[in-house]
Symmetry: C2
Subunit: 437 residues, 2 copies
């Protein structure tokens, strides 16, 4: 005789097991910050968002930023050989940027990345730049364009250009969170950050937003970041500062090792702050500013990893003792991108053998018999073997935490680097294997 209550209980269990494996689309990442942080307005910056319904319904999907006349701007972009029409546009616009006494515009849309769209891609980018320029009363070459979402489909740019005149009249200094929401694709939460620092006696603000959920998922989740400061910094110095800071933030995170066709990171400087113009990135006055910029970009980059597709663990990988810093970074990325390392983290398995493997395959010099591995403060391996003091149950207990640190010294030099990544879960497969079906 079958007991219906017992069947019901077994059914509930099976369904819970299914949900535990697959997750629920629409869930906010378990690694998300507890709340969306407050954002300080940046003097000289206004922004806003609107719904153009390019792909999504019932939400904003176009964002516009205006930087007042006199601003400088820096940018870094994907190095992909198949980068999108908007990226190519921005590279040209940045190369030609001079102070014409006009404002600068940044326009971005979500839902369609306008990547790999042949000659139509350039047409759409030009249309977005042209209409934004008209709405802001500036020349088109002063408009920076970014698109994120599905690739290979013609961008219905008419929908975007139709909302730009109205959107341009609603720009406000305090709409960072609203704008951050408009550029989300597979992101499960909006990503903003804000910092204050001193340049000389002047108080300076840096604020920014980012989007991204795979390091790349060219259909839906390319990485975009728009940041601005009121610091009075010249174009070339600003570019140098942004490149240096990117190397230890956005270029030190990985979700799946894949590289976007659309990655775009911009930093505007409105030069409203009350200090003398700085034209040298090495100016000692910038000590505090650099630290704040590094912290802000790192914060945004970490938020991207914390929203990594299917992520359940946030992992810091520290490598020391490499031949050079660059070698250390390659070893760290070899660990961070290894599917076997990432699945071990997903399984809360203190599988240090896979760290050894990933060090070995990096192509960099490592001294197997001097290799040290630590999980958090726990010494796991040393001198080419498991440490005498290591107990597997300690490693297993450590792996239960949501935020993990793995440190490895490869014993060949003084080079060091830190990168951040997430684990590889069933949910990653669900998101990327099932999402178009």
């Amino acid at each position: 005789m079958v007991d219906p209550d017992d069947l019901k209980r077994q059914l509930d269990e099976a369904r819970a097991a299914l949900e535990a494996i697959k997750g629920k689309p629409g869930d906010i990442s378990p690694l998300a910050p507890a709340s969306v942080p407050a954002v300080h307005p940046v003097p000289g910056v206004t922004l806003g968002a609107a719904a153009a319904e390019v792909k999504y319904r019932g939400r904003d999907d176009v964002m516009l930023i205006r930087l007042e006349a006199g601003s400088t701007l820096a940018g870094v972009f994907t190095r992909s050989a198949t980068r999108s029409a908007p990226v190519l546009w921005c590279e040209r616009a940045l190369a030609g940027l001079t102070d014409t006494g006009e404002a600068i515009g940044i326009v971005a849309n979500a839902g369609n990345s306008n990547a790999f769209t042949g000659s139509a891609g350039e047409t759409s980018t030009k249309a977005m730049a042209g209409h934004t320029a008209q709405a802001l009363g500036i020349t088109p070459e002063r408009v920076f364009v970014a698109s994120t979402g599905v690739i290979g489909e013609r961008l219905p740019h008419d929908k975007i250009t139709a909302v730009l005149p109205g959107l341009s009249t609603t720009l406000r200094p305090d709409a960072w969170q609203k704008a951050a929401g408009a550029i989300m694709t597979t992101d499960t939460y909006p990503k903003v950050a804000s910092a204050r620092c001193k340049i000389g006696n002047a108080s300076v603000t840096i604020s920014g937003m980012a989007k991204g959920s795979g390091m790349i998922a060219p259909d839906m989740a390319t990485m975009l970041a728009f940041t601005a400061t009121d610091a009075n910094i010249g174009q070339a110095a600003l570019q140098k500062l942004l490149e240096d800071s990117t190397a230890i933030s956005f270029n030190a995170v990985t979700v799946d090792g894949d590289t976007s066709t659309s990655d775009t990171l911009l930093l505007g400087a409105t030069r409203k702050a009350d200090h003398d113009l700085i034209t040298d990135a090495a100016d000692p006055c910038l000590y505090d500013f650099k630290a704040a910029l590094d912290g802000l970009l790192r914060d945004l980059a970490h938020q991207v990893v914390r929203d990594g597709e299917g992520a359940s663990k946030f992992i810091e990988i520290r490598v020391t003792g490499a031949e050079t810093d660059a070698a250390a970074k390659r070893i760290a990325l070899s660990i961070a991108n290894s599917p076997l390392v990432k699945t071990a983290f997903a399984g809360e398995d203190p599988n240090w053998g896979r760290i050894v493997m990933a060090v070995g395959k990096s192509g960099e010099k490592a001294d197997r018999d001097a290799l040290t591995i630590r999980f958090g403060d726990i010494l796991v391996a040393e001198k080419g073997w498991v440490a005498a003091s290591y107990r597997e149950e300690d490693g297993a207990a450590y792996m239960k935490a949501q935020n993990l640190t793995v440190t490895t010294d490869v014993g060949t030099g003084d080079g060091k680097a830190t990168v951040w990544t997430c684990d590889l879960t069933y949910a990653y497969v669900r998101i990327n294997a099932d999402y178009r079906s």
Copy 2:
């Protein structure tokens, strides 16, 4: 009122869905050959297997091959910086190999890879070589040792050396399949292949076995292959032949992009065949032999991919139009190793945008606006955009097949390469995230 039959039906559905996602440990890969092929004995080669219970119970886990006096031997090994004690032993043994009028031995065990085991690793390797040498009546430096399985754990080599004397008395010419079974770890089927060809008027045999299931899973699934021929080929020529053939077989497959600490591929030549000694790998007499060797190694390498952890699709990636053959191979591997490409295949999603992305991130030159992509014979993309003739339903129908071919021409030169891979499924995550728990 709850209907028990309805509940039962729902429960069966939920359980079937769970099994479809997770698979069943112990299932044979859906991509396995229909049957284990017949293997031709190789004159001068005897082999066998025995159960030492290093880790597994109730199955063979030690394999021994004897190549008669006068044989030559070639080998290629992992380039990992953290390679195992047996690999280091084999590299030294190969470098010092001369014709001493003695036989050659190959001994391998499954269940423990003796990798990252400090100084104990060398002790265990020496013990295996020493006892094998004693059993075969040869010097230890003529014994090649391989171990596969969990890493970082001391190899209980006494268990292995205890069975060697008995095993050495049971060697037979026809035990290839038995021996192939003894080196399996996470493999779901034994991998053997065999070919016959002509050198001059002489009939020559090549036979071999392999194991591997992840390209690497240092705990359980490193790649080993042992092959032998009766061809009369000198040491240096044999080495060159093996290296050339490996480049287009074992070095052209990837399951997860990770690299083993133990990969070992050996090719012995007993020189029993009735033709003159060949000392130049470029000798025109070898035309047929080369083709047979290429085919045999490719067959074994494909069998490894077809047993890839969690694999449900076997995928051939062809790249043409690159600057060089090496550039083409890097582009092909960039596609084959991309988690986003591999999960799209798992989802039977004709997601050509991810191919574009993977070409772009390879670091090699590609002409975005000349790029062509084909799924099988279906033209998907050309001239920087989706092809006018392409219909998504055709791509989706093609993706349902178990064996897939993706061809991309990157439009910059004459370089070409082919690699083989499998998809990235829930089962890959299950095998690698859950297996130690």
